[in-house]
């Protein structure tokens, strides 16, 4: 079942997809997102502050993520940090992107472009 609202967002820009993945397991602030992406990719993807917040601005407008009004970490003393959470719509978009990539990978395997699993 394809949703035109979701389809219009695909394919996702790399930064956006990485941010969605970073927010999948827990709510994070900007620096934490950046660190998570760097850690997961072994330092291959380094989000700069400009790219990160430009993406966040767009993702908020598109309804992929939400900003939390309160810090999820009660022990945090830094009131200035802003935290973001993956929205339900964001989760669906990420799933659609994964499906799209999956289909692509399967096609590549079927034609023998890459060895099958």
């Amino acid at each position: 079942m394809s949703d035109p609202k979701i389809d219009s967002l695909l394919p996702l820009p790399t930064a956006v997809f990485h941010i969605l993945i970073a927010l999948a397991d827990r709510d994070r602030h900007g620096y934490s997102i950046m660190q998570d992406v760097a850690a997961r990719t072994g330092g291959a993807v380094q989000l700069s502050a400009g790219t990160l917040y430009s993406s966040i601005r767009r993702m908020l407008e598109q309804g992929l993520i939400e900003e939390l009004t309160k810090s999820p970490d009660p022990s945090s003393t830094d009131e200035r940090r802003r935290y973001y959470r993956l929205a339900r719509f964001g989760r669906r978009v990420a799933a659609a992107e994964v499906a799209r990539l999956n289909a692509l990978v399967q096609q590549a395997r079927a034609t023998g472009l890459v060895p099958g699993a």
């Binding site: 900007g30 950046m34 400009g50 790219t51 430009s54 966040i56 601005r57």
Partner: protein
């Protein structure tokens, strides 16, 4: 660390403000953490990478964010515009007309005054040897800087002036020929004679066929090159145009090539249909052979353009050219008379803009038009600002809510500016279409004054820049004030206001009144200018001519070659005059060499009996050669003595008649009858006895003062000019005798036919002299009316708006016993200050403006009190009506209804 953070914060100013406000702090935090991480691990490479990323973001992410904000504002602006289609349409249309009119005038102004020749290769490399403003020809002798060259002078320069890499000549006047194409009917076609090097010097390559080369400077090459426009118009752009035959004054020429599109030749403001080789002159132009000259007269009729050799300066080229030129003068006039002619010289000047007969003529008119159109645009913008203020007031609740909800004021301002820009841009785009249409109309109007003027609309870089600048300026002028007001809104008070049904603030109302005051002030100079110009045209159309211009037909006759045979010429003229005088319906007739308002000029060096020659040697006076009964026919009063008569023949006692100016200038207070006037030409002295004094008459220029002039019997003073103009006073309409005059030409001489006759009424001769003024006056009236209307609408709008705001106050006053007349008086009183201020500033502007157009006026002073009073009166009258209508409405407010609404 602190310094690094400060630098990064500065970098953030590259992002749009809304983004910076939202995320700037987070970005700084993140950057600080990344930086301290990098420093902690002492990885200087990471630190460098961090800075590089920050810099890269500035050039990739920041512009994207800017575009995001702009597109958002734009979408919002378009939505707002779509909600109020009537307002949007009025705004865009008024801007389009305002900017369009300015653009059309600018494109002609720029084209005439500053634009380089279109379609010419490297126009800035062209130099002009002659006077670019001169058009026509002169037979005789010139002193000072040469306006034109003779054919022989051009050939000498072309062959011997070494400073030029190329030199070409072109006929300064544009001809109108009756050309027959392939043996068809004669068609009016414009064209000009040019030398073989014409196209090569201009750097033009043919669209098809070939262009003239230096071989066309030899023999009588019967070829023609046609313009791209003529090719398209007359031959539908078919390639078989090559080889077709055109018949120009009985001479067949075949078309050898077509110039490229956009090329119009060396004269700005003219678009010839065809070019013929100079060598064809004796066959295609009347008036004898101008290629071979003989003493005593040179025939000067050519412009010469060249390009300098590399490394040669203007001064060097000018010196070399003058050396060749003077040697030529010496060999023409003979060395013993060199002293008399050596005051002649050539002056080189830049030729990029080409020659132009109309540049001087049109420049002041166009500059004046451009200034008034600019003023009109300002008034339009003021009006639009007023509309926006009113609309801004209506939007206050919306904006107050947004401000209360935390919208950033800077953001609001940005949005409003975007709205103004979007409006202005749409107006600007529509203006281009309007400019295109207006350009054509303007050129047609200018053609009434300059019949050969022609200029297509070219969307060149200067025009584009002008449209952009005008659009931006308009947006700034009409958008700034309303935007400023909207952003000063205090959300609390506004929300309360709107719930009470009051709209607009006192300060907005004040701004609105200021704008209306400005509109009134700007309208006055336009009205005064229009008034002065209308009076000028009126004066020019009823000038004190000094002769009777009623029912007068002028018939120019080209005598061609028979002019050389004086006996035959005199017999023909006598015979023709007799026949014309005998035509039924002709009351009187005579002829003269110059005719009336022909632009002709004839002067002679003179000595007057009884007064010593002046220190400079001699004096000059204008003269004309006239036929019998000249003054009686024109009804110029004969103050003393007699008219020229039949019996003043070549072999009788030489006589002359002088005008009053001549008496004043050359005889002082003495009685001139019986005195002698001696003309001195090239050492030949001829003496005439004064037999009459006549009143001063304007026979050549409507504007200028009458010159001292003397008149000699045509037969007593030979002239090499080939045309004479018959002056025919008719009993009824002047045109009614034209067929009979044509019949009179038949059989008078074997070499003459009625096709050598060019009849036209005196009105037709005089119309072009005042066409320029009439065009300007007409446009000024249109501009003045539009300005006045806009000012009236603005005044009406502001007052209506103010009265609506104050309806409760008015209702209370009336409930307390105020009369409706009292309410009207109160509103009129309140407007009086505005009117007085507007009129005072307007008068000052009108004073400055009228001084600027002083040179255009005739018979009316720039500070003419009557015109100023009338213009002020009209403005005041319209303003009072615009005030009275809303005031009356206010006075009819029913107090109960109004108070219930509160």
């Amino acid at each position: 660390m602190r310094r690094a953070k400060a630098v990064y914060r500065t970098l953030l100013y590259g992002y749009p403000a809304p983004f910076r406000h939202e995320y700037g702090q987070q970005m700084c935090l993140m950057f600080a953490e990344q930086l301290s991480e990098a420093r902690r691990t002492r990885a200087w490479r990471n630190e460098t990478a961090l800075w590089l990323h920050a810099a890269r973001d500035l050039f990739t992410v920041a512009p994207r964010e800017h575009w995001h904000v702009i597109s958002q504002d734009l979408r919002y602006a378009l939505r707002t515009m779509a909600v109020k289609p009537a307002f949007t349409t009025v705004a865009i249309l008024s801007l389009a007309v305002g900017i369009g009119a300015n653009t059309a005038i600018f494109s002609v102004w720029n084209g005439v005054l500053y634009a380089p020749l279109p379609g010419v290769h490297r126009p800035e490399g062209l130099v002009l040897v002659t006077d670019p403003g001169a058009s026509g020809m002169l037979r005789g002798r010139m002193s000072g800087a040469r306006r034109w060259l003779s054919y022989a002078e051009f050939e000498r320069l072309r062959d011997h002036a070494t400073g030029f890499s190329g030199l070409m000549a072109s006929q300064s006047r544009l001809n109108t020929w009756q050309v027959r194409v392939d043996g068809g009917e004669p068609e009016e076609t414009s064209g000009r004679l040019v030398s073989g090097g014409f196209f090569a010097v201009l750097g033009v390559h043919p669209a098809i066929g070939r262009l003239f080369t230096t071989t066309e400077d030899r023999g009588e090459p019967a070829f023609a090159v046609v313009s791209h426009a003529y090719w398209q118009r007359r031959f539908d752009g078919r390639p078989d145009v090559l080889g077709k035959t055109l018949i120009v004054r009985d001479t067949p020429v075949s078309i050898i090539g077509v110039t490229p599109a956009g090329f119009a030749g060396e004269t700005s403001g003219q678009q010839p249909d065809l070019w013929l080789p100079l060598r064809l002159q004796p066959r295609v132009l009347p008036g004898g052979d101008w290629l071979h000259e003989k003493l005593p007269d040179l025939v000067m009729w050519l412009h010469a353009f060249g390009r300098l050799k590399p490394g040669i300066t203007y001064a060097q080229a000018e010196a070399q050219a003058n050396a060749v030129f003077r040697a030529g003068l010496g060999s023409f006039y003979g060395t013993e008379r060199q002293d008399e002619v050596l005051d002649q010289r050539l002056r080189l000047q830049p030729g990029a803009r080409g020659a132009s007969a109309s540049r001087d003529e049109l420049s002041s008119s166009l500059t004046m038009l451009l200034a008034s159109a600019g003023l009109l645009l300002l008034i339009t913008c003021a009006n639009l600002a007023n509309l926006l203020l009113a609309r801004g007031a209506a939007r206050h609740p919306e904006i107050a809510v947004r401000v209360a909800l935390g919208a950033n004021r800077q953001r609001l301002l940005r949005q409003l500016v975007t709205e103004s820009l979007a409006l202005a841009t749409m107006g600007g785009i529509a203006a281009i279409a309007i400019a295109y249409g207006m350009h054509g109309a303007l050129v047609r109007m200018l053609q009434e004054a300059e019949p050969r003027f022609s200029m297509g609309f070219a969307f060149t870089l200067p025009v584009l820049v002008f449209v952009l600048a005008a659009t931006l300026m308009a947006a700034l002028v009409f958008g700034a004030l309303p935007a400023w007001h909207v952003t000063r809104i205090d959300p609390g008070s506004r929300l309360k206001d709107s719930s009470r049904g009051t709209i607009g603030s006192a300060s907005e109302l004040r701004s609105g009144r200021w704008l209306v005051g400005a509109q009134l002030a700007l309208s006055l100079p336009l009205l005064v200018g229009a008034g002065l110009l209308v009076r000028t045209v009126d004066n020019l159309q009823r000038p004190h001519l000094g002769f009777d211009a009623e029912r007068l037909l002028l018939a120019r006759v080209d005598l061609g070659a028979i002019v050389q045979d004086t006996a035959r010429r005199d017999r023909v003229l006598r015979e023709l005059l007799g026949r014309i005088q005998r035509i039924p319906g002709v009351e009187a007739a005579s002829f003269s060499q110059l005719g009336l308002f022909s632009g002709g000029l004839s002067t002679a060096g003179i000595e007057v009996s009884g007064s010593a020659p002046t220190a400079t040697g001699g004096r000059d006076s204008a003269l004309d050669r006239v036929g019998a009964d000249y003054f009686t026919t024109l009804r110029i009063p004969i103050l003393r003595g007699r008219d020229i008569s039949e019996s003043d023949r070549a072999d009788t006692h030489r006589v002359c008649i002088v005008n009053e100016m001549f008496v004043r200038e050359h005889f002082g207070g003495r009685d001139p009858l019986g005195m002698r006037v001696t003309t001195v030409d090239d050492g030949v002295r001829t003496t005439y006895e004064v037999v009459g004094v006549v009143g001063d008459a304007r026979t050549q220029s409507v504007r200028d003062d009458v010159e001292p002039r003397f008149f000699v019997p045509a037969e007593q003073r030979p002239s090499s000019g080939t045309s004479r103009t018959f002056l025919i006073r008719t009993a009824s309409r002047a045109g009614s005798v034209i067929p009979a005059v044509r019949d009179a030409m038949d059989g008078v001489d074997a070499r003459l036919s009625s096709s050598d006759l060019d009849p036209a009424s005196i009105e037709e001769h005089m119309a072009p002299l005042t066409a320029d003024e009439r065009t300007i006056a007409r446009l000024a009236v249109v501009f003045g009316t539009v300005a006045l209307t806009l000012a009236a609408i603005g005044l009406y709008g502001v007052l209506s708006y103010g009265i609506t705001r104050r309806s409760s106050e008015i209702a209370i006053r009336m409930a307390l016993g105020a009369h409706s007349r009292g309410i009207i008086a109160m509103i009129l009183r309140e407007t009086a200050g505005l009117l007085v201020a507007g009129l005072l500033v307007g008068s000052a502007l009108a004073y400055v403006g009228s001084r600027m157009i002083a040179s255009r006026l005739y018979g009316v002073a720039p500070q003419d009190p009557l015109t100023l009073t009338l213009a002020t009166g009209v403005l005041l009258f319209v303003a009072l009506i615009a005030t009275y209508l809303p005031a009356r409405r206010a006075s009819r407010v029913d107090p109960m209804t109004a108070l219930h609404q509160v």
